[in-house]
């Protein structure tokens, strides 16, 4: 475990979802499944967050917002697509206003399918994300050393 992943702070954004996955994200952090025992804290500030939990199939109006939050986050950062809508568009993939998944707006590191995504899946996805976070942090550190 690297220093960045001992207590990964998450920021959650609903990218045109039906709210099913959003309430499961919140349920993961509540006493039923207790994500907070892993040090996962839900913050509203992109600058404080390590992991970006996005739900929803992203519509035209939302692309700019999702990109903005992603750009505001500080490296190293990980994006987890929660729910099948965020992975591929889900049942709405052929709707006229839907671009079909978060990876068409920002790069995604971990995909957590499900409709709605189960809290167990989400905890698993966050742990996977933490591994990726460690790799990215190590790469950053190596790049800094190499630069000198």
């Amino acid at each position: 475990m690297g220093y960045a992943s001992k207590s990964p702070w998450v920021i959650h954004y609903d990218g045109s979802s039906c709210n099913g996955c959003d309430i499961e994200v919140l349920a993961t952090l509540c006493p039923g499944f207790d994500g907070e025992r892993f040090g996962v804290v839900n913050t509203g500030n992109p600058k404080h967050a390590d992991i970006f939990l996005v739900t929803g199939s992203v519509n035209e109006q939302n692309i700019a917002v999702v990109k903005e939050i992603y750009d505001q986050m500080v490296e190293p950062k990980v994006v987890v697509a929660c729910g099948i809508c965020a992975c591929t568009g889900g049942v709405f993939h052929d709707c006229y206003n839907v671009i079909g998944g978060v990876d068409k707006a920002i790069p995604v590191d971990v995909y957590a399918p499900g409709c709605a995504v189960r809290p167990e899946s989400l905890i698993d996805a966050i742990v996977e994300g933490v591994k990726v976070l460690d790799e990215k942090a190590a790469a950053l550190k190596a790049a800094k050393k190499g630069g000198r």
Partner: protein, 221 residues
């Protein structure tokens, strides 16, 4: 308190006055929606009082201008902005007017875009319904069984899953080809047995008939 619902037509010119009278009599405004039809757009305005849900259907063309009722019922502004953005209906005088940016969409008036597959499916359903009606009329008049049977088969195919229907059609065509080939073979046998001059005349007549059939098909397309 019981619940009942009904649908009544309403003319566009009477819309605003009608809404005023509803408000004066204490009806509660429920919603406004738009439906795409062949001729244009149908707007359904709903009001409720004491368990009676009264829906009023206003049929308009695509270019009609609809007066807003948000001066009487402020809650209507949401629906009027929506029907403007999704159906392209012009509504005049909305209290809070987003002027087209209520929803920021990829295409303009997306609910009016009917995909070709959908249009074809609806055409087919209309033909099936017309065929059924014709069949019922014929049976009442006492016609023969053969065209009725075909109409019934068409109806069955139309109601089937398209893939399955395509397979059935292909099977039917193959069967028809086989039958036609068998018929040709039989005719050839008969021609060989016939007088050669007569056989040549028969063949010429058959070719002419075939040519006419092809040109008729092409002309029909």
């Amino acid at each position: 308190m019981g619940f009942r619902q009904d649908f009544e037509p309403l003319a566009l010119s009477e819309l605003h006055g009608f809404a005023e009278s509803r408000r004066a009599e204490g009806w509660r405004y429920v919603q406004t929606l738009a439906v795409l039809t062949e001729e244009g757009v149908d707007l359904v305005y709903s009001f409720m009082k004491d368990g009676h849900l009264a829906n009023s259907v206003v049929s308009i063309g695509r270019d009609a201008v609809v007066p807003s009722i948000s001066d009487l019922f402020l809650a209507a502004f949401v629906f009027e902005n929506e029907i403007h953005d999704l159906f392209g209906v012009t509504v005049e005088g909305i209290a809070i007017d987003f002027e087209g940016s209520f929803y920021q969409l990829a295409n303009e008036a997306p609910m009016t875009i009917l995909s070709p597959e959908q249009a074809a499916a609806r055409e087919k359903a209309r033909k099936v319904a017309a065929a059924k009606a014709a069949k019922a009329a014929k049976e009442a008049g006492g016609a023969s069984d053969a065209p009725a049977a075909e109409g019934g088969l068409e109806a069955k195919l139309a109601a089937m899953d398209p893939e399955k229907a395509a397979k059935v059609r292909a099977a039917m065509e193959a069967k028809a080809k086989k039958e036609a080939a068998a018929k040709d073979a039989e005719l050839e046998e008969r021609l060989k047995a016939m007088d050669p001059e007569k056989a040549a005349k028969v063949r010429a007549a058959m070719e002419a008939k075939a040519k006419r059939a092809v040109s008729a098909e092409e002309g029909g397309e």
